[in-house]
């Protein structure tokens, strides 16, 4: 049984990914333009990512919310955040002032959501993943089970 308080940040992150994935899935053409603005990939790759990434975010968000394929969802969402932080940092270093595309096409190029929120979420995900891979002591497990004494 998962340690109960960990469900709260996991569910919150799941909800964030579900919501932001849905916003991107509404306008994949716009999202492809946002990816292109990073000037890292050819157009075909931008289109493929614009078609695929929103659904990956939605599915991982649902997985975290409903505690299904939990570890896998933690790994994928952490990888997505790392990839995004690298891409955004690269764009900023090259002097590109672009809309991050985080919340769907047409959102403004305000920087604080990316520079503060994404590393923050990544830190939480790494904490959750480490906790998941290192099982808790039987004394504090929630739910039914044999008495440790």
């Amino acid at each position: 049984m998962t340690f109960l308080p960990r469900r709260i940040p996991a569910s919150l992150i799941g909800l964030i990914f579900l919501l932001f994935g849905a916003l991107k899935a509404i306008d994949p053409a716009g999202f492809a333009i946002d990816i292109r603005n990073y000037r890292l990939l050819p157009w075909t790759a931008c289109v493929l990512l614009a078609l695929y990434l929103p659904w990956l975010e939605i599915i991982c968000g649902v997985a975290l919310l409903f505690n299904r394929a939990y570890r896998g969802a933690l790994v994928v969402t952490a990888a997505l955040l790392i990839e995004f932080i690298i891409a955004y940092s690269s764009a900023r270093l090259r002097g590109l002032d672009i809309a991050c595309g985080c919340f769907g096409h047409g959102t403004q190029s305000f920087h604080w959501p990316v520079l503060i929120m994404d590393p923050f979420l990544l830190a939480i995900l790494i904490y959750l993943l480490k906790a998941e891979l290192r099982p808790l002591s039987p004394v504090i497990r929630a739910g039914p089970g044999p008495d440790p004494e």
Partner: protein, 137 residues
């Protein structure tokens, strides 16, 4: 850890299905062909290119790509009329405005493509700055 990777792989594969559905049926699916063209590619088209300047009239009057015609949304109907005098369906229209981040060329290209249903409409990557850099004395 292997369980995490197996689950991750399942999620990665599961996302392919709705992505495929989006590619086939989403009303706002992206076009596989980009509307942007580099300066070198456009120049290689030679006289087939009709350059269209989407900048304000004052900027066009100061300097423009040789042979370009102005088309901005402040004077759309009059300038489109003049553009059509030089256009045929076989020519490739390349629209440019100020720079990498200028939106006007995309708006003008969108209207030529969607409203006027003109074929072969492109946007110059890098805009007027790209031309100036390559042709600086």
């Amino acid at each position: 850890m292997s369980r995490a990777l197996r689950q991750a792989l399942s999620l990665l594969l599961l996302a392919c299905l709705p992505a495929l559905a989006t590619a086939l049926w989403h009303p706002r699916r992206p076009a596989w062909q980009s509307d942007e063209v580099t300066l070198s590619a456009a120049t290689a088209w030679g006289s087939a290119v009709l350059w269209v300047d989407a900048r304000p009239d004052a900027d066009f009057a100061r300097a423009h790509i040789p042979g370009a015609v102005p088309l901005n949304e402040d004077h759309w109907d009059d300038q489109l009329n003049a553009l059509l005098d030089q256009w045929t369906a076989k020519r490739k229209i390349v629209v440019y405005c100020s720079s990498l981040s200028c939106q006007a060329s995309h708006d003008v290209a969108r209207r030529l493509r969607d409203e006027a249903a003109m074929p072969n409409v492109f946007v110059l990557q890098g805009g007027w700055e790209a031309w100036r850099k390559q042709h600086a004395p």
